[in-house]
Amino acid sequence: MSDDIYREIILDHYRNPRNKGKMTDADVVIHDSNPLCGDQIDIYLKVKDGDIDDIKFDGRGCAISQASASMLTEMILKKPLTLAKDISKEDILENIGLTNLGPARIKCALLSLKVLKMGMVKYYEDKEPVTAEKLEKDSNLY
């Protein structure tokens, strides 16, 4: 099974992460960590005309959490916010090709999505409180 997990594409995103770094003029910055393992992810979002104009992630952690974050940024860059809003955990697991992770490691794969959803709640709180509330309810991933 670990041969399936640590495929070339995961190692590639782990060692050469896309959209990694900080952003000084972000509209939303959000941080979270997994207390069990200390994985940390920051996500920076810049929104323009309802689209994610730019996204960066920063953090440290295992290959699964970092590759998953890197792939997530590619998934939603330049896409409408509404699309990002609807990404499910199944979408993430399918995207990174890891659909049978155990309960401990699934948190690694979903940490970046959790942070993104928290960021979107923060973004909508000013603009559309109703959407923010619904998002918060939906984003209970674990």
């Binding site: 640590y6 782990y14 069990l36 200390g38 952690g61 290959a63 490691r105 690694c108």
Partner: protein, 413 residues
Amino acid sequence: MQATQIEVNQIRKDFPILLRRINGKPLVYFDNASTTQKPSSVITSISEYYTTYNANIHRAVYQIAEEATNAFETTRDKVSSFINAHSREEIIFTRNTTESINLVAYSWGRKNVGRGDTIILSELEHHSNIVPWQILCQERGAQIKYLNIDKDGNLDLSELESCMSNNNVKLISLSHMSNAIGNIIPIKYIVKIAHSFGIPIFVDGAQSVPHLKTDVIDIDCDFLAFSGHKMLGPTGVGVLYAKKNILEEMNPFIGGGDMIKEVHKYETNYNDLPHKFEGGTPNIADVIGFGKALDYLNKIGIENIRRHEIELTKYALEEMSNLKNIQLYGSPDPYQRGGIISFNIGDIHPHDLATILNEEAIAIRSGHHCAQVLMEKLEVAATSRASFYIYNTIEEINIFINALRKAMRLFRL
């Protein structure tokens, strides 16, 4: 005298879990610093209590209650002699090491630590020997000072005396053996210096008591805490040892039944030691089980256990140091450390390594090991950790080394 080698293959038969297979392979359990496995004698003693003499202790006069009280209190005697305490009154049962530390921080700390005082810890400490003191210091306006460690994780003893002579130090609290990297500190020497300044010392023995001969009279520590589940016993049983005169001065921690002599509307006379600190029905079954664990350890002999672990650690360190890109933490001297090896290989994150090793049925720990202060000092976010006990073998270390090589292949290292 040449001491007897321990018969690992015989010992393994006493641990039913070692028959488990994971992914079709025999379980290799290398997470003993976290919790150890339990021998059949411990497991059956618990069901025996519930099956044949389950009753609450200390009060009732009928036979099974007396049997239960007797079995429970016999464990206290066994603990007392295991660490060579002066008397059974110095042995308090708690839930775990963490609770023992919190008990002292609460009961002793609130009475003895005030504004401007200092508590000394080291950079090696487990969170459970940091957070209770932080809570106390924040409440009392006191401060924490840390003894530094060098690159091998050894305590820098050069600052010991200057640290103790300044700062109004009220207590020193140190772990005898680091749970994260295994280093053993020269506790007797430190106690001697501390006492020359009139400062009491708390020893976190969670890792040391299960593996090193511990004699509280010889060490002369004022407090010692440890957990039964790290030494073949069930979870839910911890021990606090403290010198009798200190315990007598301390206020109770948990108020309630069993810790009282007389209760009136507005005042209470507390019970004698050790019961003053054991409010409420305790964990009777598991304390009885812990007694059986101590019997087991005594049968094998703690010195023999230590010798076996040094042999395993020496072999593992030698084999591991041959691997490319490996970073080993802690003292390179197997006599200065316990059977705990913390390491990283290249850029493989410890969680990924632990996942790959799990495929080979090897259980190791990965993460910060509840020692984030130490991790910051070592400048790592996490490490992988293998830790041994009496039932581990050289063959298991070979399986482990092969699995590390597999992980390196998967990560193209």
